[in-house]
């Protein structure tokens, strides 16, 4: 077990190095850099001294050096916990991400909890009562949920909330709490805003999860050990929850590890952009479009890091819930 863990961590580190390098390359692929945009912007404003100042910036950020050197400087600082400076905000990437990380985690956890709380019981109901009216209704709603893009739903919610109900649903805080220090009132205000994106994320996430749960459970319910459990005189509900759901939940655990973990940073970026949330998603999109490469690279590496951590945790959880995958 310990050697398994060490091996997995070792592979994860190699993977992270590769990913960081390749993402750095890709972010640098488009012609020019952030400074070219900056120059164009400043010149358009008629700022003649801009060109000279920009060269200072280039030297300061190391943009005049060859790319491999740039990468080396960035990655060696990265390991020490210094993720570089954001060009756009002229502040450390770490600080910018740190500000938004809590909200991102909070949002994704809320979304995930709502999703599972809705999806698992509905999926179980759907499978146990296959082809019943309830199952048909759930299936129809699930397909609409799968087909409906989250950002569209977000726009619809915005329209209904702002134009019809005259409610403020944009962002995660009301204006008066935006820069206020944390207090009970601010947390309450956050919760009042949080449920909108969480619910939108849950609607789209629930749909797929219901279908997966239903399909797996149907497969499991057809297995001989279910009939055998029933023949031992167990209550139907106990057979379903103790024997069938226990077996059918494995794929959901895999999804949890491989989608939910990276989803903390890049779960529902489009929804977050539409609703203007102060989370990492919009920051990441913005960094990519403006070639704010340390910012973009850092988020990308963190996403992959979370994916790898998620995978490792998934493997451990699977070994815990299913003795067949345990290493002897």
């Amino acid at each position: 077990m310990v050697s398994f863990l060490i091996r997995r961590v070792f592979y994860a580190i190699i993977m992270l190095i590769l990913v960081s390098f390749i993402s750095f390359l890709i972010i640098n692929l488009p012609a020019g850099d952030f400074m070219d945009q900056k120059i164009a912007e400043l010149e358009a404003r008629g700022d003649k001294s801009a060109v000279a100042r920009v060269e200072d910036y280039r030297v300061r950020y190391g943009l005049d050096k060859p790319m491999l050197t740039q990468y080396w400087i960035w990655i060696s600082n990265f390991v020490r916990g210094d993720f570089g400076l954001s060009f756009q905000f002229e502040r450390p990437v770490k600080e910018l991400i740190g500000q938004r990380l809590t909200l991102s985690i909070l949002l994704s956890l809320t979304t995930l909890t709502i999703t599972w709380l809705i999806a698992i019981p509905l999926g179980v109901y759907s499978a146990v009562n296959q082809y019943s009216i309830g199952d048909q209704v759930i299936t129809t709603i699930a397909f609409i949920g799968i087909g409906l893009p989250g950002f569209l739903l977000a726009l619809l919610v915005l329209y209904v909330a702002i134009v019809i109900l005259n409610q403020d649903v944009v962002g995660l805080f009301s204006r008066e709490f935006q820069d206020a220090p944390w207090s009970l009132a601010k947390i309450w205000d956050l919760l009042k805003h949080l449920w909108v994106p969480a619910l939108i994320g849950a609607v789209t996430g629930t749909a797929g999860t219901i279908r997966i749960m239903r399909g797996n459970l149907l497969d499991t319910l057809g297995q001989p050990f279910i009939e055998a459990a029933r023949a031992r005189g167990l209550k139907s509900r106990r057979v379903i929850w103790k024997h069938a759901v226990r077996m059918a939940i494995t794929p959901l655990v895999i999804i949890l590890g491989t989608e939910a973990f990276p989803g903390i940073l890049a779960g529902n970026i489009l929804v977050e952009v539409v609703l203007g949330l102060p989370t990492i998603g919009p920051l990441y999109i913005n960094a990519l479009t403006t070639q704010d490469m340390f910012m973009a690279g850092t988020v990308l590496v963190l996403i992959v890091f979370l994916l790898l951590v998620g995978n490792l945790i998934t493997d451990l959880v699977l070994a815990w819930i299913d003795p067949r995958v345990r290493l002897e």
Partner: protein, 374 residues
């Protein structure tokens, strides 16, 4: 309730199980009648799809959706009341499928072992947990210590504790011949071989002291040497506990080895029933004869293996008259394809569903019509 007078444990009367499916109606069981006697082994034999397994499920009231069961399945449950044994008649077919009464019978009075030992144990639970699950539901221990009166012992019972359940599990695994039972109790199904898993299934089934064990092709998925071991084990265990066995198989050899009485089924009906000795020595129904003739014999050379011509008919399009007539070597035109035969007594304690033996046949309306035509 009545005083115990006879040895009938389960009686099945006119059992029909119907499935309304997209392509039509299938009668998986089409009027089966038979009786399971206490302490005896009844063998049920037939081709795939003849309704053997479905009959077994009907006895447990576990007919899967969308199956509809009609007819009577009666359990004569024995228990002690005020010091004397009484027999309670329970109509299993009328019980609520997930109700308390049937759940006490399932796994308690009637237990079952299955064809697929590989997948009949939940993969994430240990062998012991399966046994403990059954024991906790169905085994009760007397509260009073030994030495108290019999009646009080019987009346005051409590559930077994987890430690006792574990002890029972180990004890049962020992009884079914699993080596290192004390360690094996914590083995997961994938750590056991097919034969060992079937032993565990038998241990689960016997751990609750059932009155009837339904064995639905318990050795079909095992190789012959393991099959012999499992059959020996079942026979040995049956001798030590007073338990009836309903043994479902498609193997005549296994019936001969295990059963006292047998029922031959074809397309949801029993075509012949009687004692195993009588039927093997003197099979009456043409189908039984053909089944016996198609067993290869050791030492026999240059004989083409006998087969039954044709295939089982489509359940959606059953032949008229006797369902076996298109495949029957003794087919009587104008008779077998018109009249549905009834079960007729052909010898002492031996019945066959064939017009050759049907005493009423000449008097039925159909018979008159056939005669008039001829």
């Amino acid at each position: 309730m009545s005083e115990i007078t006879d040895d009938v444990l389960v009686s099945i009367r006119n059992l029909r199980i119907r499935f309304d499916v997209r392509d039509g109606i299938v009668n998986a069981v089409d009027g089966a009648n038979f009786t399971i006697r206490r302490g005896k082994t009844l063998g049920v034999i037939g081709e795939s799809g003849c309704g053997k397994s479905m009959t077994a499920k009907a006895i447990m009231n576990m007919v899967p959706k969308p199956g509809v069961m009609t007819g009577e399945v009666t359990l004569y449950k024995r228990h002690v009341e005020n010091g004397s044994q009484v027999v309670e008649e329970i109509r299993i077919d009328q019980l609520d499928k997930d109700g308390e009464e049937i759940r006490n019978i399932r796994g308690g009075v009637i237990t079952m072992i299955f064809q697929e030992p590989m997948s009949s144990l939940t993969p994430v639970f240990t062998a012991g947990l399966h046994i403990m699950e059954a024991v906790k539901l169905h085994r009760f221990l007397p509260i009073e210590s030994i030495g108290d009166t019999m009646t009080r012992n019987i009346q005051k019972k409590r559930e077994v504790s987890p430690e006792e359940a574990r002890e029972i599990a180990i004890d049962m695994l020992q009884k079914v011949g699993l080596p290192n039972a004390a360690q094996r109790v914590d083995s997961y199904p994938h750590q056991l071989s097919g034969g060992q898993r079937q032993r565990v299934m038998i241990a689960i089934a016997l751990s609750t002291h059932p009155e009837l064990l339904i064995a639905d092709e318990p050795t079909t998925a095992l190789d012959v040497s393991i099959e012999a071991q499992i059959l020996d084990l079942m026979r040995e265990l049956q001798e030590t506990v007073d338990m009836a066995i309903l043994f479902i198989t498609h193997n005549m050899g296994v019936i001969a080895e295990m059963a006292d009485e047998m029922v031959v089924m074809y397309m949801g009906k029993e075509v012949e029933e009687g004692s195993v000795v009588d039927i093997f020595e003197n099979p009456k129904h043409p189908y039984t004869r053909l089944l016996l003739a198609s067993i290869p014999e050791i030492g026999e050379k240059k004989r083409e293996l006998a087969t039954i011509k044709g295939m089982t008919p489509s359940p959606f399009n059953l032949p008229t008259g006797c369902v076996f007539h298109p495949r029957c070597p003794d087919f009587m035109p104008g008779k077998c394809d018109v009249v549905k035969p009834l079960l007729a007594t052909v010898a002492k304690n031996q019945n066959a569903r064939c017009l050759m033996y049907d005493p009423c046949w000449p008097n039925t309306a159909e018979a008159q019509a056939v005669k008039a035509k001829a």
